[in-house]
Symmetry: D2
Subunit: 378 residues, 4 copies
Amino acid sequence: MKNKIRLGILGGGGDSLIGIVHRIASSMHDSYEIIGGVFNPDYNENLKFAEEIGLDKKRIYEDYEKMIEEELKLDESERVQVVSILTPNFLHYPMAKKLLENNFNVICEKPMTTTYAEAKDLENIYKSKNLTFAVTYTYTGYPMIRQMKEMIKSGVIGDIQRVDLQYYQGWINPIIHDSSKRSETWRLQPEKSGISCCIGDIGTHAFDMLEYVTGMEVKELLSDLNYVYDDNTMDVDGTILIRFSDKIKGVIRASQIATGEENNFTVAIYGKKGGLKWEQQNPNYLYHLSDTDPMKVLKPGHDYNSNFSKISAKLPPGHPEGMFDSMANIYNGVAREINGNKEFDGEYPTLNDGLRGMLFIEKAVESHKNGNKWVKLN
Amino acid sequence: MKNKIRLGILGGGGDSLIGIVHRIASSMHDSYEIIGGVFNPDYNENLKFAEEIGLDKKRIYEDYEKMIEEELKLDESERVQVVSILTPNFLHYPMAKKLLENNFNVICEKPMTTTYAEAKDLENIYKSKNLTFAVTYTYTGYPMIRQMKEMIKSGVIGDIQRVDLQYYQGWINPIIHDSSKRSETWRLQPEKSGISCCIGDIGTHAFDMLEYVTGMEVKELLSDLNYVYDDNTMDVDGTILIRFSDKIKGVIRASQIATGEENNFTVAIYGKKGGLKWEQQNPNYLYHLSDTDPMKVLKPGHDYNSNFSKISAKLPPGHPEGMFDSMANIYNGVAREINGNKEFDGEYPTLNDGLRGMLFIEKAVESHKNGNKWVKLN
Amino acid sequence: MKNKIRLGILGGGGDSLIGIVHRIASSMHDSYEIIGGVFNPDYNENLKFAEEIGLDKKRIYEDYEKMIEEELKLDESERVQVVSILTPNFLHYPMAKKLLENNFNVICEKPMTTTYAEAKDLENIYKSKNLTFAVTYTYTGYPMIRQMKEMIKSGVIGDIQRVDLQYYQGWINPIIHDSSKRSETWRLQPEKSGISCCIGDIGTHAFDMLEYVTGMEVKELLSDLNYVYDDNTMDVDGTILIRFSDKIKGVIRASQIATGEENNFTVAIYGKKGGLKWEQQNPNYLYHLSDTDPMKVLKPGHDYNSNFSKISAKLPPGHPEGMFDSMANIYNGVAREINGNKEFDGEYPTLNDGLRGMLFIEKAVESHKNGNKWVKLN
Amino acid sequence: MKNKIRLGILGGGGDSLIGIVHRIASSMHDSYEIIGGVFNPDYNENLKFAEEIGLDKKRIYEDYEKMIEEELKLDESERVQVVSILTPNFLHYPMAKKLLENNFNVICEKPMTTTYAEAKDLENIYKSKNLTFAVTYTYTGYPMIRQMKEMIKSGVIGDIQRVDLQYYQGWINPIIHDSSKRSETWRLQPEKSGISCCIGDIGTHAFDMLEYVTGMEVKELLSDLNYVYDDNTMDVDGTILIRFSDKIKGVIRASQIATGEENNFTVAIYGKKGGLKWEQQNPNYLYHLSDTDPMKVLKPGHDYNSNFSKISAKLPPGHPEGMFDSMANIYNGVAREINGNKEFDGEYPTLNDGLRGMLFIEKAVESHKNGNKWVKLN
């Protein structure tokens, strides 16, 4: 019999998009019960929101420190087991640190921290504990991404020789060209968003995905970013040359000024024996290319998929699942680990994924600022 | 402030697919709380399942009659407000009847009943009450279907002159050609499944969708069904000629022997000024054709959509939603009506949709059995 | 060494679209030389056009009877060997008849004649001769259609159980709704276009394709056509139920009022072991579905294709060919037969294809006019 | 009345693919007559081939110098007017030079020469003459590429801010990993193929296309190429960062080890007001994105296209044209210029396109060899 995992939430109140995503994702596999948390810095708003989503007010707290203090007073059988951090980025680090130190499992939105140094610090604490720490690179939860990962691991496309990832959006276009808008949006203010806009927000998704599906570590990169205006200090577009080695290369392309693009994230991995391609906007299709055979189009829910892909689809073939389901698979992965049922590598993105993500952002900006030079990623 | 609606569930226990769909759908908009119900005819299984999905056992009942009896004893402020019927088809009618008679709102899986006569009886009871009754034709909840409905209503494609709907699956192919399998599956046994397999199961989806998006009633049909083997008494394939009038015609095509098809449901409506096309397997795309302009591809979440479509998407453009989200929109429609916020025609499929569906099934079989003659739908 | 085949042309002068198609098609395989013919009923226009396309005027004739008379005077080594008939439909029969009687090979545009009786008469003459007679159902020349034919023949999808063909256009929409336009266009005048507009023009393509790819004969049909206005006597839309037998059924759907559609011709054939799908507007893709395996996407020019498909592609994979190339494959088939190199069934559509096409048109109209009754096709 | 242009051909005999492409292209608009040339270095093969394709032997020559000498003896009204150069690359320069010097118009396959220095020399001669010189970057002839060029020119997508071109093939994959094959293929031998394989062969197509559709000159590039094996001296893969300016950037990606890719050439151009995307493998679709409106899908032959696009399509919408038609549009452009009917910028790629292409190849290799440094393109 399954016991529901007791989940606390920090942030994500009101109309927060990421709030809805995590609430729905946590409910989809009947594995979690939301116990309480801190949805809003304003305590009254916090209470009001808790009521709206049907929660008991008893375990709605004034701030995360209070929450930790109070929860620790409860018996382990009642205490919140996992806490999801959905706050603005600069709060991720202090919250995650304190939660780890007090032996709570953590599900943290990306980017994990605002600097690589903070991320290293979290890693140190994490290594001294026996806890689960997930970073929600949402797209790694799609069934066909997991199928891609398994196919690459089992050698279906042979040794990798070319990689190409694209993450194109156009949403910042109307902002960047308006001098007042671009000076006012928090997304383009380093003090609020860290050192990078485009690479930090979407380039990291591509980077994590690349290491996730290939199971390999990028060794060095060379980047060319675009700030578009001299008074703008945050990149909104960039191309990043990637090397796994001198003989295995590729590129990550990210843009928020690809006008008219919505969320056009694509992954293409080519090996000696074939290629695999996927598009986030049609996530239920995986394209398998080969030198000699017709292209194959794989879809979720079929017996021909790997077990890891199969446990990641709830509906039969032809009944489309979407982004909530992808995030739900990550939540389910955390639940499976906590419940001792973890079976596959990659059921959720780990603290190490978060750490590599921070390294990638810092190095991509460094390469650009140093005149587009190669920089190593370790 | 929003109060959660108290939801009871009949059926859908264990690994039931439809059970998961309704549970997830009911949770997606934070509008419902599952209070209890009867998930399984075996009471012990029932209790066990309730525990698995984290429900209190207090309001898990032995059967639906007991549930009604006990719930009526509770104060209105605690009593279940809506009951979802997810049982085998032959139970829909008695359950729905008793629920309506006792003033519960109902969400009923399709087909609504097993005969048109039963459906008419439900209609009579329903008309004497002031209750909400939804029939879960799931696909009507997709944002781009709702956009299609609104565009047709507002005259974007002009008067309709040709309609074409396809619902192709291949799942029964390995069963139909194996004489023992085809005699054993309940899907091909009239006593368990009613008078039709393919038309009853998927043809009705197409029929309902046609009347939903056009806002018009089909006047007559002529059908040719395929039973494939002489010892098989249930259709597995059919083509149904459709007339709205002598001058407005079209076709519904449905098959479960379209080998290799998953759930290939498509809708194409052509009017004097343009056409609209949609495919369930890529539900986030709506194609708008015209005589003179380039084809337009509409997607959910954009400002160019109608309000009804906009309230039906939770994520920004480019973040795909799927079938759970579509069902969740229907649940949300019911919730909005119960909460007095209903704003649009078609927020959920009504009892009348269920009634028309039963009429369609009976008439499609009648037309075929009478030698492919036209029959009227009223 | 290859000798070029001497080709004469009747019709297709001026800006005639079909004229360009046949000229280009005849040149693509270096197999034909256009010798002369009658491009235009006006002799001066005829001469002028011949000069424009770079032909010697010596063998430009006043009419087809004169052409036959004069060509017969020439030595066989100089005489035109094949004549392409590209005139309005009502001239096909007298021209083809006289050409056959005088031992010329014939390439005839579709429809082959204006009545089935004429078609039968041509068949009688043809049977007494040893000549090549092709009817240019252009789309049968596409490499992936030929691949489909070969795959079906070799049993890849098993016994056929469901067929579905669509030919949707929207071009007549602006004409049909304008009472003066619809009374003036020759396409809607029976004396100029025969008894059917939509079925005769495009429905026949679908019908021929169906028999071409399956290698089977349709046994009976039931049709429902749409004339849209009472003062219009020619169908512009129709759905035709198809039976190969009581157990093998399907549908042909054709429309010229599918507003916004260009030339949307699709073919789907489902068998016990799989399905094959193709779309004329993206003719270089063939989709192979199966119960158990991922969908395969076949493309021209690959080694995995059949020999018949391979000889039908001139360019390597990924270099798209189009409709001219398809027609050129039919011309090449005729040339290969005349040169004694014919290797495959179906290198060009035969007189029998033309005959079946006329039967289909007459029976489709008959079924509709008799109140949508089944009629046999033999 | 139209006079056919007298065309001579150098190279392209036997089964040469490029030979067929040019012959078909030259015939498609009824504008050219092939008069003679040198198809093969072996004179007997040359004669034999001429007979096969139906040419008179009188003007089949032993070599190009003889051809020039003899043709000059003829009256201008009979003399070859244009010569197409289809030989191996190293012969392009001497042939083109001598042809220009003797006042023949030239159609030259790409790459125009083997070095930038040779290309500059041709430019000098060309500038002193009043001749037409075309370099056959085939893909610039597609109707939707021309539509893209016109839309950009007229400001439809506003000032350009991001460009992204991909040319992915997989054909060299089975060669590169086999040490004997990779040492033997002429494509990987600098003395036969120049200094670059992948960038020289397909990267140049992308570069030319970029400058063609944008009407802008690339200012600098930084490239990272991949040779895969130490004993291989020719690139088979590369990523090239592109700058029009500090604020307008992008990337060209080219690979011949993208295993399973056929000829996957894509073009994406984003401006302040929208984006345009195109794929060579489905060349009849142009995607127009915007911030605010649904994506539009433009197709050839429609009135909504520019005049330049319209004259580049021969068939009505929905009747696909392919690569031959694209090349034919370039031939037609040359013919229109020679006949004094040239109307649009870009009816054929010019000598300057060929010159820029050579500069691009040399600079891409230089950047890579110098440790991935920025190099200027002028």
